[in-house]
Symmetry: C2
Subunit: 136 residues, 2 copies
């Protein structure tokens, strides 16, 4: 895991500082979508000297390097997530704030088709569902 990130950094000529390694490691082990403040809190537990400016700089760098993705969910501050191999979208529980991930091939294909019809080649997309839990 960490090796992969380190390799990716080397390939891009990105210096591997302790701070970056730490942020990479924490994000690799995080299975949620922390915002910068929360991420800073997590890394601070290990490196008490790390500044939030470095966290901001690093997530931005990692986003450009393709290690993290940024999410701007409705009304919230930016959250980050490790870029895992498989693509997925999100469903946000508007009551609890919980975030579920899902994959749906059919919807992916439809999006391509729509873009095509409009004369565009899809380079990216964002699909967010907002819902409330059903009681059975």
């Amino acid at each position: 895991m960490t090796t992969t990130i380190e390799e990716r950094c080397r390939k891009k000529g990105v210096k591997l500082t302790d701070q970056r390694k730490l942020i990479a490691r924490i994000m690799s082990n995080s299975h949620d979508h922390p915002n910068v403040e929360e991420l800073h809190k997590r890394v601070s537990k290990i490196d008490t000297k790390i500044s939030i400016a470095t966290v901001y700089r690093t997530v931005k760098l990692f986003e450009e390097t393709g290690i993290l993705t940024k999410h701007d969910f409705r009304g919230e501050k930016a959250r980050y997530e490790k870029l895992s191999g498989y693509h997925h979208d999100h469903l946000i529980d508007v009551q609890s704030g919980e975030i579920l991930e899902f994959v749906n091939e059919e919807i992916e294909k439809l999006q391509e088709k729509i873009a095509e019809k409009l004369g565009y080649q899809l380079v990216d997309h964002k699909l967010e569902l907002y819902g409330i839990k059903k009681k059975k």
Copy 2:
């Protein structure tokens, strides 16, 4: 058009000030998705005294009243759009910044289905496609 907005305001007990009427009118006549700064520029041409704070307060109010919707497209400042009767999603040209609107029933239904499968009732969603124009 304007009548409708005024009616909606009365129904909600929202006072109809000149500033609000003006903002409503400008948004009704706008067929794009201006951000607050741009909207303030447009209304300022007619009412040179209107403050940007009022524009911020009004778009927020109109959003809650169901007159406008807010969009947070990737990396841009918040944009607003009049809530027209029909629902649509957006395709953003990543090169020119142009925004196209589209409707696709199939995708709407799929989203419902996905939410359902996850045990949720859909209350809202956001679908944005980012693409580059194809040359023929």
